[in-house]
């Protein structure tokens, strides 16, 4: 059964990746939502799955009777679900704010930080440097000393 779940996890991850690589901010968020579901399913699968045996100890017993599902991944996933939800809620607000500030949800338009290159000239020389274009012999020319 785990093998089948592994394939499904792979499909979810692939879909999430495709969405995250999108130009549209909202689609990126949808990708993150799928990714967090995939993560939960992954932990679940990694802990092995058992049918119809919840990890509960019957009221009158000290230890569970018979087989029971692995409880540890379930505890971990509960933590992960809640955190994932907190993150997603926050992400939505952050994206909304980005939209308000920039009036777009196209992430390609959000690149103020790295200015487009045509405006930025290639490096210029330091002062006193001979540029390779102005060729000159290896030997220096006499100079005046300004110390005096």
């Amino acid at each position: 059964m785990e093998n089948v779940l592994a394939i499904v996890v792979g499909i979810l991850v692939a879909c999430a990746t495709f969405l995250i690589l999108s130009r549209d901010l909202i689609r990126i968020l949808l990708g993150i939502a799928i990714l967090s579901n995939a993560a939960n399913l992954l932990i679940f699968t990694a802990g092995r799955v058992t049918r119809d045996a919840p990890p509960l100890v019957p009221g009158d017993l000290e230890v569970p009777a018979g087989a029971y599902a692995n409880p540890l991944p379930q505890a971990l996933i509960l933590t992960a679900i809640v955190i994932g939800f907190g993150l997603l809620a926050f992400a939505l607000v952050l994206s909304y704010r980005a939209y308000v500030a920039m009036r777009t949800v196209d992430v390609d338009a959000m690149r103020e930080a790295e200015p487009p290159y045509p405006d930025q000239s290639p490096p210029t020389g330091e002062d006193g440097r001979q540029t390779p274009l102005r060729r000159r012999g290896a030997a220096g020319t006499p100079t005046r000393e300004a110390a005096q």
Binding site: I20, L72, I83, L87, M102, E112, A113, P123
Partner: protein, 483 residues
């Protein structure tokens, strides 16, 4: 349970303080911002004292999910120092930049709590929780400058890339769990040691899990090839926040990296050493080369920090006690140099506006000689020129690498500092040899002079009094490997 709580007194205090300050802010409104900020500094300093006073021996709490030892103590000391200095430095900054809102210091406190939790995490899932606690606060303060599009943009980019990396980390943790049946560092270490002793080859899922975790952590420390967010976020975030980003969270992530690699995966050195060597070399080389052409000083500092992480990771790649000691010394020195540099950057204001171009530092030696001196010390130190502190940081990690027979790594490290020296020295040249640009607005504020002076003196005089930092680092490394 009481024993558990006693172990987390510093964290508990900081959480309670942050929450109380939040209440204070909510009830008193925006005019309380300076008060909240001031009290935040006090809270961080008190927490620092509590960490200081905590017993040095290893103490575990919460069924081993959480551990406090000498290593955690040292790293927490660094994180809290950085947090306190950054809070102090933002005193005037948030006022001038229209960011004076009480949420700002409170979020910084919450982020700091997350970092403390990361440093002490002794379980993959607790680590993830601490990481997310830190991250959430950081996303907001990165986007805090309300009138700057870049700030929002940087917060958003940081969020998306960062949650991706946290996702990777969580996936990696799941894989490791799927192999080992536990996420506790102690149990994992025991299992791997046993497998190692039995001569078993580690399963692929496990190795991939480790690789996932490394990738997630490499993102957090902004090591190549997961560094791409760094320049954009450093530039876009408010400068006081950038100062914070480049120190406290980085230290926490490095500490976490060390604990994960040396603790549970300590017996898998053969599996991860090559990966770390590659990451370290790439970070050093790329950091050095990419910084050369930057004109914005915050972007330059971003690449510089990428390079410095590369150097610190040399210590981890060595995988020895000497290496961890070197890393701890390196991070301590890096913290002071970096905070000092950012103190200077925070003073770069002309006509009541922040300026960020490297060229704005022209002729600083004539307009503000003391500031130029401090900046000169930081730049020379970052370039690794003796006898300043930065040189000793490098020496410690290089020697550790050589001892671990990672000769290529050490030699590439040394040689890439030649390229790095080039851009640091260019700033010195600008400040000392060039015609002055417009002078910066004065006064800078006494707290800025204090931060610059203190960090400058530590950087300058480390070679006279190396013991406090080195002894601490030594004890930290010993504690980590003993535990």
């Amino acid at each position: 349970m009481t024993y558990d709580l006693a172990t987390i007194i510093p964290e508990l205090f900081l959480v309670v303080a942050a929450t109380v300050l939040l209440m204070l802010g909510v009830f008193r409104g925006q005019q309380s911002t300076q008060l909240v900020l001031g009290l935040s500094v006090v809270a961080v300093v008190v927490t620092l004292a509590l960490v200081w006073l905590a017993p040095a021996e290893r103490a575990a709490a919460f069924g081993g999910l959480y551990v406090h030892d000498g290593f955690a103590g040292f790293m927490k000391g660094l994180i809290l120092t950085a947090a306190a200095l950054c809070l102090v430095m933002s005193w005037r900054y948030i006022e001038r930049e229209n960011m004076a809102r009480f949420e700002f210091p409170v979020l910084m406190l919450y982020a700091t709590v997350g970092m403390l939790m990361m440093v002490s995490a002794n379980d993959l899932i607790s680590l993830y929780v601490g990481l997310e606690l830190q991250n959430l606060s950081l996303y907001v303060i990165a986007a805090f400058r309300r009138d700057a599009i870049r700030s929002t943009e940087s917060g958003l980019k940081y969020f998306i890339l960062s949650s991706l990396s946290s996702g990777l980390l969580l996936y990696g943790a799941s894989m490791v769990y799927g192999f080992a049946g536990t996420t506790s560092f102690g149990d994992l270490a025991a299992i791997f040691a046993q497998a190692q002793a039995a001569g078993e080859t580690p399963s692929v899922g496990l190795v991939v899990g480790v690789v996932f975790v490394i990738a997630g952590l490499a993102f957090k420390v902004s090591a190549v090839p997961f560094h791409m967010w760094t320049p954009d976020v450093y530039e876009g975030a408010p400068t006081a926040v950038t100062a914070f980003f480049s120190t406290a969270p980085k230290t926490a992530a490095i500490a976490l990296f060390v604990r994960v690699m040396m603790g549970p995966f300590g017996d898998l050195t053969a599996q991860w050493q090559q990966v770390l060597v590659a990451i370290s070399i790439l970070s050093m080389v790329l950091g050095a080369f990419a910084a050369i052409n930057q004109r914005n000083i915050k972007r330059m500092m971003a690449y510089s920090s990428i390079g410095h992480v590369g150097y610190a990771l040399i210590g981890l790649a060595s995988g020895t006690e000497a290496g961890i000691r070197g890393l701890a010394v390196y991070m301590a020195i890096y913290l002071f140099m970096n905070i000092g540099t950012f103190a200077v950057i925070l003073c770069m204001r002309q006509k009541d506006r922040m300026v960020e171009q490297i060229d704005d530092l022209r002729g600083l030696s004539r307009t503000h000689p003391m500031m130029a001196l401090a900046m000169g010390i930081f730049m020379f130190s970052m370039a690794g020129i003796p006898p300043l502190a930065g040189f000793f940081g490098k020496i410690y990690v290089f020697l550790a690498a050589v001892e671990a027979e990672l000769y290529t790594l050490a030699v590439i490290g040394v040689l890439s500092s030649v390229v790095a020296a080039f851009y640091y020295l260019r700033i010195v040249k600008l400040m000392y040899f060039d015609e002055p640009a417009e002078a910066f607005d004065t006064p800078f504020g006494r707290e800025m002079s204090l931060v610059m002076g203190a960090t400058g003196l530590i950087t300058l005089l480390f070679f006279v009094f190396p013991n406090p930092i080195v002894d601490g680092a030594e004890a930290a490394a010993a504690a980590l490997l003993a535990g």
